[in-house]
Symmetry: C2
Subunit: 218 residues, 2 copies
């Protein structure tokens, strides 16, 4: 009972939330949950129920019923329309504390994203780092990512010229980059999509929210 939907592509903000929703469904699924209402999902995701329903409706519909969404069905619908669910090969660039943690943890807790290589320009560090995945010096990056068919790079640190690194990745066939350095990487080569997650910015935002609700009830 999955009806695919009208051609209107979902807006950016909606896509982002649908990704979070998909994650929540994986959890619910592995917890053995069968059905889930828009209200429960909204509470978990920190949105409104109306928003959850609206988001889902942009991508398909599962038939109105007074009983909520069927977890597996909804998960499958999202996986199909958004191309999720398959395994994606990723690499880690920069073996500082974060990069080190990622490669030593292997791909545990990374869902369908599989770490297949780690890079650092400091060759000493390549030897002293314990890792669950093979490590390479940065000058081999282009060849290794091509050979290993890496789709996405997690960048945790860059020494000096970020453009150089992005170039190597792009030429090696990488198409997406997640910038975790907290600093700008400069302009991306065309064909390379670049996102960023900045823990530090998030902490700052949290701290200003605390400051601004100093006095009042809520």
């Amino acid at each position: 009972m999955i009806r695919q939907r009208h051609g209107e592509k979902p807006a950016a903000a909606t896509l982002r939330r649908l990704c979070a929703l998909y994650g929540r469904l994986e959890d619910a699924s592995s917890d053995g949950q069968r059905r889930v209402t828009s209200f429960e999902l909204a509470a978990d995701l920190g949105t409104s129920a109306a928003s959850v329903r609206r988001d889902i409706s942009t991508v398909g519909e599962l038939g109105p019923s007074p009983v909520g969404y069927e977890v597996e069905g909804l998960k499958r619908l999202l996986a199909e329309t958004m191309g999720l669910g398959r395994t994606v090969r990723v690499c880690v660039v920069g073996l500082n504390w974060l990069g080190h943690a990622l490669v030593s943890g292997g791909s545990a807790g990374l869902g369908g994203f599989q770490i297949v290589a780690g890079f650092d320009s400091n060759t000493n560090r390549l030897e002293t780092t314990s890792s669950a995945v093979p490590l390479f010096p940065s000058y081999d990056m282009e060849q290794v990512v091509r050979r290993e068919a890496v789709e996405i790079a997690l960048i945790t640190a860059v020494s000096q010229p970020a453009g150089e690194i992005l170039g190597r990745l792009s030429r090696g066939g990488v198409r997406g980059v997640l910038n975790m350095t907290g600093r700008s990487l400069g302009p991306s080569p065309s064909g390379l999509v670049c996102n960023s997650v900045a823990v530090l910015d998030e902490l700052r935002y949290l701290s200003v929210m605390l400051r601004s609700e100093e006095g009042q009830s809520r």
Copy 2:
């Protein structure tokens, strides 16, 4: 030449961007940069110059000049109006790969946020973990965070009842939580602000963006 601004409080989206902007200014400052234009900032932050100017104008103004913003002045303005710049004491809850990396790295790279304690309910792990900060069992959480005056908790993992952990933190005086577990923590006790950063969701979003620009030019 800092004129403080009208009482209209900045919108949420704007505040978030201003936090990122503040980070960029710290970088520029330590790189010895003197002045910076809205165009440069926009390129670094991935927004438009108009948006940068609008954001800044919600918080004050530094007098129009054909020469850009003075880095130190703007940084100071943001620090004052948003309460940034001071040192904030934080703790780490859960010593999995990420928590371990955070406590062993000390507060390096965390800007003005200082890690003062780590917690885990597994007492074995407390002994086997190398750390730059003192570690405690979870049942001491309430007392330790009170004693150490912790303002914000970074949660990297929870064993079973998340509500229990949030309760201890809140009773101990913690006012903000950054959820890095990738899973919902359930309802927060009142008075506890909870944000989340989900690397996995970000990776998913990146992967759907790649899929959806498979065929076309841009």
